[in-house]
Amino acid sequence: MSFDIDIVVRYGPLLLSGLWTTVYICALASILAVAAGLAAALLYGLPLRFAKLLCRVYIEVMRGTPILILLFILYYGGPSIGLTLEAETVGILGLGFYGGGYFAEIFRAGFQSIPPGQIEAARMLGIPRRMIVARIQIPQMLTLIIPPSTNQVIILTKESALLSIITVAELTKNTTQMVNETFAVVEPYVAVALLYWLIIEGIALAGGALERRFGHAS
């Protein structure tokens, strides 16, 4: 068996276009996931039973549903309730809100790691709640939440391969097209595995850099 590099070169533009789609969908989905997760964790911290319940339901639904089912519901089920979305939009929303369920738990653990006494000291000095979150809690949470967050972005990126099933022209979809057109199997899948590995190494490196940047003297 030989590895025909020519096929990979010939399909280079298709693979790169898929790579770009995967990268920007995952980037937007990750931003959405972090925002949704942070919002859920903040709501969870409010002394309101209804807010807590809402967050619990959100987290449990996201964790309890396979991402593929979530994507199917959004993409194929959406139109029946008047929600017709582009496949890429479904991908961003699906991966984003799905990831948000996991980020919510990461942030919640982060908030709980701050001793309540620090919050009380801030309240006694008259520091408003939102400033306590922004200046006392989140900065201290960062060192703790960066490693699991990096992990979560990596998982999200790998799960984005499922978007090929709902016709998003991302890396896996374009690779499948390459397989169908060339009848080659090894070259396309090895090439795509390398490309995913590149993205994920990039995420891991960024995570490591953030960790070093926000490590403090405590």
Binding site: A122, H216, S218
Partner: protein, 259 residues
């Protein structure tokens, strides 16, 4: 001098679930006076101080800070919890120091002291740091301004916490067992700072196990047990002429421990 007490507590009750931890406490703290609250563990003294700051909301009674009701709004005989903004406003004259210092570990000593000056008082960095350095120097940790709390000893951390509270120019300082978490050899440096504050005329409420401090610095000592004030009076009366059995017993236990 202001006739009104800086802090006035009337008929304070507090429950934690089924436990009735404060059973009708009355207390008045006049300007420039030092009141020490002593009593065995679980007597409710820390809860009293926390209720007087509304960190633990009280159930019945009233707390007035410079004449303003803390924590609740009363309309037509009904009372509702006040807004965060109003609560902040009423307690802005209180500075509080905690047993475990509660410094923010991601900020330097100076960062801890300037944080509220910047965020609450909205001072510029330079002005906030000028005050911060001044306050740290006042409590004797001026040379530690740029160290993170983890690099400071317990005594230095607690003095930094005192500087942080003082920077906001409080009219009354609450101390919640400020030396209980300290190694014995570090207690003195914190008590000395507190004594200096008292000497400058700061109004203070101190929950403490340091009987020596209470005896020498307090204008009034309040002895609590079982959620009630059992005895109160000048330190000489409390320590030399206890009237109640419970106070006598408490002092005997303390004396037998400190020999």
């Amino acid at each position: 001098m202001d006739e009104k007490p800086v802090v006035l507590v009337e008929g304070l009750h507090k429950h934690f679930g089924a436990a009735h931890v404060l059973k009708g406490i009355d207390l008045a703290v006049d300007s420039s006076r030092v009141v020490c609250v002593i009593g065995p563990s679980g007597s409710g003294k820390s809860t009293l101080l926390r209720s007087m700051a509304f960190l633990d909301p009280y159930d019945e009674g009233r707390v007035f800070i410079e004449g303003r009701l803390l924590g609740y709004r009363e309309t037509d005989g009904k009372r509702v919890r006040d807004s965060d903004r109003n609560i902040d406003s009423v307690r802005s004259v209180i500075g509080m120091v905690f047993q475990h210092y509660n410094l923010w570990p991601h900020k330097t000593a100076l960062g801890n002291v300037t944080e509220a000056l910047r965020v609450v008082r909205k001072l510029g960095r330079r002005e906030a740091e000028r005050i911060g350095v001044e306050m740290l120097a006042k409590v004797g940790v001026g040379d530690k301004a740029h160290d993170f709390p983890a690099r400071l000893s317990g005594g230095q951390q607690q003095r930094t916490a005192i500087a942080r509270a003082l920077a906001m120019r409080p009219h009354v300082m609450y101390f919640d067992e400020p030396t209980s978490a300290l190694d014995p050899e570090l207690v003195g440096e914190v008590l000395q700072v507190m004594q200096e504050l008292a000497g400058e005329g700061m109004t203070m409420v101190v929950v403490t196990h340091e009987m020596g401090f209470a005896a020498h610095v307090a204008d009034e000592v309040v002895f609590m047990d079982g959620g009630e004030v059992i005895e109160r009076g000048p330190p000489d009366d409390i320590f030399k002429r206890p009237r109640s059995g419970r106070l006598r017993e408490f002092l005997d236990t303390w004396r037998s421990r400190t020999i």
